[in-house]
């Protein structure tokens, strides 16, 4: 079906829904690379005007990627909850923006609506929103998940401690872990990206982190971010796997390029749940996503990168994850060219994920070939703090010495806690107090070399 919009004497025509969505997307380099972006600024707004008039029911009848060829489209359509959708079934996309921003919509309303949204509906409404709108709507959402602690409560904010080391050296990893814990980081997860996807390395890193966690009774979870097939092997070998990690994308073809499909994710989910390692909950999945991955694998079917990203959240929500992390600026300038585009994308992903009921965190980051720097990260960090992000990364000095990119530091998390009056996950906060790392007013306490955590590094 074609969509039309008249601006002055000119009529713009958009051949189908995916074209309309792509043309309505705020400017970013990835859509230009894919050849799907609006040609002019006026065409973009004309597309937004046409999109605003599209009834939400259209999204149930017109798929952006055919049902027959893509298992994620099948997942979206087959699991759509019509009862949850009923209260908004009469709205257009433009109406939905008005509704979400209205005073009558509060946290419980949004929680009830979650299963009624499809990814494409949510992507569509976000394209009509300014950054301020994305923040306003995000801040109304609350998505709480549990494993050994409680993540995502309002007024709280967590961090993934990311103690990566270029050669997976144990002492190097342990040194960064201790540094992070002293700075109050690690309540979302202590998660290592291994330098090589090597089952023996993965098992030994898991053992090492689990020993430290148990020794100091830290109420958090650990994870080595290896490929799901490697982690499944680690489980077979009896390794202490708290969370199953996997990168996912929004089309069947991009997931094939990652060597996964929904069935394999199900296998990973079942194997991890069966271990029953959570104490306050059993959210066992940790997913990472990021705009541009589908195009990068030539698997986007002409769908814009932000819509592809939100489709990945349909896969994520099937498995009730503990954490979903959009690694927003990692992919490079050919997808998000500069600080402005990265900031916008981070806010979109966070908002769309939350609307779909996901515990969204953001790896606020950039690479050295992007036109961005730490000032841009400060801006996005502050905006996400106001938007109520569930977690961010904590990396020594914001510099990942293994993955070669810049993210947020332990200091950055403290800044947000201070300025936005946010506290760590309650169980972890109690631990920080017990360990005399934090005072009751939320300030870090001075530490001496005799602190018993220093024994953790075995150094």
């Amino acid at each position: 079906m074609a969509y039309r919009s008249a601006v002055r004497n000119l009529t713009y025509r958009f051949d189908d829904l995916k074209t309309l969505l792509a043309k309505a997307t705020p400017l970013r380099s990835g859509d230009q690379l894919a050849g799907v972006a609006a040609e002019t600024a006026e065409e973009r707004v004309a597309a937004q005007m046409a999109l605003a008039d599209v009834p939400l029911t259209t999204f149930l009848n017109e798929a952006v990627i055919p049902y027959e060829t893509d298992e994620i489209t099948r997942l979206i359509q087959d699991t759509h909850n019509t009862a949850a959708f009923a209260p908004i079934s009469h709205l257009t996309v433009g109406d939905l923006r008005n509704y979400l921003l209205s005073d009558e919509v509060d946290t419980p309303t949004l929680t009830r609506l979650q299963p009624g949204f499809t990814p494409e509906m949510v992507a569509a409404v976000s394209k009509l929103m300014r950054n301020q709108d994305l923040i306003t709507v995000s801040a109304k959402c609350e998505v709480v998940t549990r494993f050994r602690n409680t993540i995502g409560l309002k007024g709280r904010f967590s961090t993934r401690l990311q103690p990566n080391h270029p050669t997976d050296d144990f002492r190097g990893v342990a040194a960064s872990m201790v540094d992070g814990l002293f700075y109050g980081s690690g309540d979302a997860v202590i998660g290592i990206n291994p330098a090589t996807d090597h089952v023996r390395t993965v098992v030994r890193l898991l053992d090492m982190m689990d020993q430290i966690r148990q020794r100091f009774e830290i109420p958090t979870q650990t994870c080595v971010l290896s490929h799901i097939t490697t982690t499944l092997q680690a489980i077979e070998q009896g390794a202490p796997v708290d969370l199953m990690f996997q990168s996912i994308g929004g089309t069947e073809a991009v997931n094939a390029s990652f060597g996964i499909d929904i069935a394999l994710l199900r296998e990973g989910f079942d194997a991890t749940r069966a271990l029953q390692r959570g104490t306050v909950g059993q959210n066992v999945m940790y997913f990472e996503t990021g705009q541009g991955s589908a195009l990068s694998a030539n698997a986007h079917h002409g769908v814009d990168q932000q819509t592809c990203e939100v489709r990945a959240y349909a896969v994520a929500r099937l498995f009730e994850p503990l954490l979903v992390n959009t690694v927003v600026g990692f992919i490079g300038p050919e997808y998000l060219y500069n600080g402005k585009q990265i900031i916008r994308a981070g806010l979109e992903d966070h908002c769309c994920g939350k609307l779909l009921g996901l515990p969204m965190g953001v790896d606020i980051c950039y690479t050295n070939h992007a036109e961005a720097d730490q000032d841009d990260m400060d801006t996005l960090l502050t905006l996400l703090g106001v938007a109520g992000v569930n977690f961010i990364m904590g990396i020594p000095g914001a510099d990942d010495v293994m993955l070669h990119y810049q993210s947020t530091s332990f200091h950055d998390a403290l800044y947000l806690r201070d300025l936005c009056r946010l506290r760590p996950a309650p169980e972890f906060e109690a631990w920080l107090l017990r360990m005399e790392l934090m005072s009751a007013d939320g300030k870090l306490m001075p530490v001496t070399t005799t602190h018993r955590l220093l024994q953790a590094a075995g150094l």
Binding site: S176, H404, V447
Partner: protein, 254 residues
């Protein structure tokens, strides 16, 4: 007023174990001044590495001493600006380069093709590529494998190796490429390996070794690991996620 210099954290001795920016201290919740400026300097250097260029003449001369012939090729990306915005151009050979491969292919098939591309840090290639290629070449000749012409590529991305190796009719390809510069490593070399390379393959078909440099994954260990992966690939006739990396690289201390 008394001076107020940076005060590192008491656990500063842990810095012996990692190049990560640990124990930098804090003033309030913020980074102290010197630590902040150190970061800014490293970022400036990484930015410069992105815009560095291959030392063509010197590389050609030194690579010719390892194996001949050496072919100098160029991707479809004309310059760095275009390279950064059009990765598709960096994955394909320029028309002239494509044509220049004609006559160098081996109809019975080479065992291995080594492609050296600037990627996102020509500095990494300038510093490390010749040593790695030279050691790898020695080991490959001990195994009796036939080696295709060495290919040096300007403005190249990983997938360009597939097109080159396919055109030269090589069974396996190793692409040595400058990785995205990090703050502490503007010169990291990556190696991507593919069995039966052909245009259109994606990352699932490749195996990767990253951070090859003396301060990261040292040359000799990287060469041994490359040989291990290549031998496995050749024996099992596949590469990528299906090829599990069981290489005991002895990097882990018990």
């Amino acid at each position: 007023m008394t001076p107020l210099p940076d005060q590192p954290d008491p656990w500063i001795f842990l810095q012996n174990h990692t190049s990560a920016r640990i124990a930098r201290g804090r003033t309030g919740h913020s980074l102290p001044t010197r630590a902040l400026l150190d970061f800014q300097l490293d970022h400036a250097r990484a930015r410069d590495a992105v815009y560095s260029e291959l030392e063509r003449d010197e590389l050609l001369e030194r690579l010719q001493a390892v194996h001949q012939p050496v072919l100098l090729l160029h991707s479809r990306a004309e310059n760095r600006q275009q390279y950064l915005q059009r990765p598709d151009y960096g994955r394909k050979l320029a028309e002239k380069s494509r044509e220049s491969l004609t006559g160098f292919e081996d109809l019975t098939g080479f065992d291995l093709c080594i492609v050296i591309a600037d990627g996102l840090s020509a500095t990494a290639i300038n510093r490390h590529a010749v040593t790695v290629v030279s050691r790898l070449g020695e080991e490959v000749s001990k195994l009796g494998w036939s080696l295709a012409p060495l290919c040096l590529v300007e403005q190249g991305r990983v997938a360009i190796g597939d097109e080159i190796a396919h055109a030269l009719k090589a069974d396996m390809v190793v692409v040595l490429i400058g990785e995205r510069p990090g703050l502490t490593s503007p010169d990291s070399l990556g190696a991507y390996l593919t069995f039966r390379p052909q245009p259109g393959l994606t990352d699932e078909s490749r195996n990767c070794i990253s951070n090859i440099r003396p301060e990261g994954f040292p040359y000799e260990a990287a060469v041994q690991k490359l040989l291990y992966l290549l031998t496995e690939m050749k024996a099992r006739r596949l590469s990528g996620v299906q090829l599990k990396d069981e290489f005991d690289d002895n990097l882990l201390t018990p």
